[in-house]
């Protein structure tokens, strides 16, 4: 019995130390990558709750990958953190043929993986289609304040967006402060998802920026001083509005889907999303009322880009690079930008495209619900660095969720 316990303890403890980052074999050129990728099967782990996104990957991206000799398999997950956790656990267990080849990721999940050195880096320079992006684009250089450093290839751009039901809201607010005031004037008709849900967490940071007097007032880099200086105003603002929220702020919707359900059921009149691309389809399918209108704020909202990252222990990294390159091609970016397909904003710099490819984007139909990216991203600001996210979420949990 003692021997068994010692053996068990030994087994567990032998994997104690943090995994040492092995340097994955580098490729000299993209031709080498292509040669090795031929016949590989790439497991793309991505949030599975967006049906248009699933359909795009299955019906558009996967066939194009097959034409390049790579089988693309979509692994649906409820939260990107699940994929990151899988990678971390597999690395902790010493697996070098990881089951995750490619992850749709950004922000805090990316930075968590970078802290743990779980991503393969310095590979996006190999991708021929990276030349079509603007090398100076701040959204593509830093992901929530974490330098990208070639550890992930851009995929979409997104803009945090509020929307409202024009059947019940006659004079929609035009600033974030106005939204909070509107909530106080209309008790029970507004709420936001509970952080650490991604959308709720963004809302929390937007409230902090608004309470501080604008995006410039808060330093992007996290520090305890900056946190102590700026977080109390945000928490005060949210505590002040809590009694006027849906259910008097006694509970909050679990995630963006739960908020959308409340909006669709007419329980709240204003909702929010970091994926305005999905609104067109949600309205067209009847999941959201056709009186849904996008609410643009005078001070602008936060924007970000999302990426495809390859774990350091991926079993098929070459295939993953081929898929990442393909996803950046003008054809794929244009197909993905079509509101009828997915409506995700492209990451390419249209000025760098051939005239022929540029027309692909010019021909895209306009969405009846969502304004163009240029209009949505007017006065946009970048994301704060990723350390802000858990710090604010935890403060919200302690001060607002727990005290009601």
């Amino acid at each position: 019995m003692t021997a068994a316990v010692t053996a068990v303890a030994g087994l567990a403890l032998s994997s104690c130390a943090a995994p040492s980052p092995e340097t994955p074999s580098a490729f000299a050129s993209f031709d080498d990558v292509r040669a090795e990728a031929d016949g590989q099967t790439v497991d793309l782990w991505m949030y599975g709750g967006d049906e248009q996104g699933n359909a795009y990957v299955d019906d558009v991206l996967a066939p194009a990958a097959a034409a390049e000799g790579v089988t693309l398999r979509r692994v649906p997950i409820t939260d990107t953190a699940d994929a990151v956790n899988r990678v971390l656990s597999e690395r902790q267990a010493g697996r070098s043929d990881g089951s995750v080849d490619l992850v749709w990721v950004n922000g805090a999940n990316f930075s968590t993986g970078r802290q743990a050195e779980a991503w393969r880096c310095d590979w996006t320079g190999l991708l021929p289609n990276m030349d079509l992006t603007d090398p100076e684009d701040p959204l593509l250089l830093n992901d929530f304040g974490t330098p990208v450093d070639g550890c992930e290839a851009p995929w979409h751009k997104a803009q945090f967006t509020f929307f409202y039901n024009s059947a019940t809201v006659n004079d929609p607010p035009t600033t974030l402060e106005g939204i909070l005031q509107w909530a106080k004037d209309h008790p029970g008709r507004f709420t936001y998802p509970a952080p650490p849900d991604f959308t709720g967490s963004v809302f929390l940071r937007e409230v902090m920026l608004a309470a501080a007097g604008g995006a410039e007032a808060v330093p992007l880099d996290f520090s305890d001083e900056a946190f102590d200086e700026h977080s109390p105003a945000a928490l005060d603002a949210l505590t002040g509005v809590a009694p006027s929220l849906w259910r008097e702020g006694a509970t909050y919707p679990r995630d963006e889907q739960a908020l959308n359900t409340l909006f669709a059921d007419g329980e709240v009149d204003i909702a929010m999303t970091y994926g305005p691309a999905t609104l067109t389809d949600l309205v067209a399918s009847g999941a959201l009322p056709d009186t849904t209108k996008v609410l643009t704020l005078e001070e602008g909202t936060v924007g970000n880009a999302s990426f495809l990252a390859i774990p350091a222990n991926a079993a098929d990294p070459a295939g993953a690079m081929v898929v990442a390159n393909l996803a950046l091609s003008p054809e794929q970016q244009a197909a993905k930008a079509d509101p009828d397909t997915w409506g995700q904003f492209p990451v390419l710099d249209l000025g760098r495209l051939d005239p022929e490819d540029e027309t692909l984007f010019d021909q895209l139909p306009a969405s009846p619900v969502v304004p163009t990216y240029d209009e949505l991203s007017r006065k946009a600001h970048g994301e704060l660095s990723a350390e802000w996210v858990p710090a604010l979420d935890e403060a919200w949990r302690q001060e607002i969720a727990a005290s009601r």
Partner: protein
């Protein structure tokens, strides 16, 4: 025709009878028989090894791993440093979570034991309709809790099916996301009462009808038969299934996450939230929370078994 059958039934059922005299006579023999030949015990151990070793190894490694992570000995980044911060730093929150989980588990267990017992009674008493109810109960069991919780959410939420069809009054309590975990307990009670009923029916169906017939022949009313025959007969199965339901609902995640309020958090929801946190430093806390949940489950099982043994000894 009827007389010999009813007359013979009590005899058939005799070995199952919980009558004190026969139990007392049996007990010493049984223990003597089990203890005497050492070879049988050894053989039993050897036979059990292939089943026990993998289970012990898997559980042992994961518990030791979780313990090491909770003490900061298996960090994802940096050097392992022994620290009890994950345990001490959040003791208050952890204690509150344990209380919430215990409340949900107690309420769900009481509700499912009562409802399950009533279902079992009905099934055993009314053969034809009972078969339909038994079938419905059995059909409930393979439904995953996640699906059950989703369905309950659609049924009971503020603008759910019930509200749309019946137009519930504003005073109707908010069950989904309400601070009393009403919908969570309802979901567990619905699923687990079917489980309790099935265990009870299986354990009693052979002996109960004969004994009830005998009691009825002796003039016992329906109520007396339930209290003096069915209830004592069902007690062992009731106790075991209640223990299983308690431990299961204590550690279960889906329904509490889907139907519970944002705060306070049951242990399981807290553990999963911390485990999925983007902050790697939250991992030790997640492991501490998971271990607390495991520890509470073990304590509940040991206490339950001790109570069952004592009540058996008293009889």
């Amino acid at each position: 025709m009827n007389i010999p059958i009813t007359g013979s039934r009590p005899h058939q059922a005799d070995p199952h009878s919980p009558a004190p005299s026969s139990r007392q006579d049996l007990t010493p023999d049984r223990y003597a028989a089990r203890g005497a030949p050492g070879a049988v015990t050894l053989r039993g151990v050897v036979l059990a090894v292939p089943a026990v070793v993998p289970v012990a190894l898997v559980i042992g490694v994961s518990v030791v791993g979780a313990l090491a992570q909770s003490l900061g000995l298996m960090p994802f980044i940096g050097e392992p440093v022994l620290s009890t911060d994950a345990w001490a730093g959040s003791a208050g929150d952890l204690g509150r979570s344990v209380l919430v989980s215990a409340y949900i588990a107690v309420a769900s267990t009481v509700a499912s034991v009562i409802v399950g017992f009533v279902i079992a009674l009905y099934v055993l008493a009314t053969p034809r309709m009972g078969r339909i109810i038994a079938g419905l109960s059995a059909a409930t069991i393979p439904i995953p809790h996640l699906i059950g919780a989703g369905a309950i959410g659609l049924l009971l939420s503020d603008s759910g099916f019930l509200d749309r069809t019946l137009g519930l009054p504003p005073a109707f309590p908010t069950l989904v996301g309400g601070s009393w975990f009403g919908a969570v307990i309802f979901e567990y009670a619905w699923k687990e009462s079917a489980f309790v009923a099935l265990v009870l029916i299986g354990s009693m169906s052979r002996s109960v009808s004969g004994m009830c017939d005998a009691a009825a022949t002796l003039g016992a009313t329906a109520w007396q038969r339930i209290i003096h025959v069915v209830l004592p007969l069902s007690r062992p199965a009731l106790a075991v299934s209640a223990l299983i339901v308690f431990v299961y609902t204590f550690g279960s995640y889906e329904a509490a996450w889907l139907l519970g309020p944002t705060s306070p958090e049951p242990v399981s929801v807290r553990a999963v939230r911390l485990f999925g946190s983007v902050d790697l430093a939250a991992r030790p806390e997640a492991m501490a929370t998971a271990l607390v949940s495991l520890g509470a489950g073990i304590v509940a099982i040991l206490a339950g078994l001790a109570m069952m043994r004592r009540s058996r000894g008293l009889r």
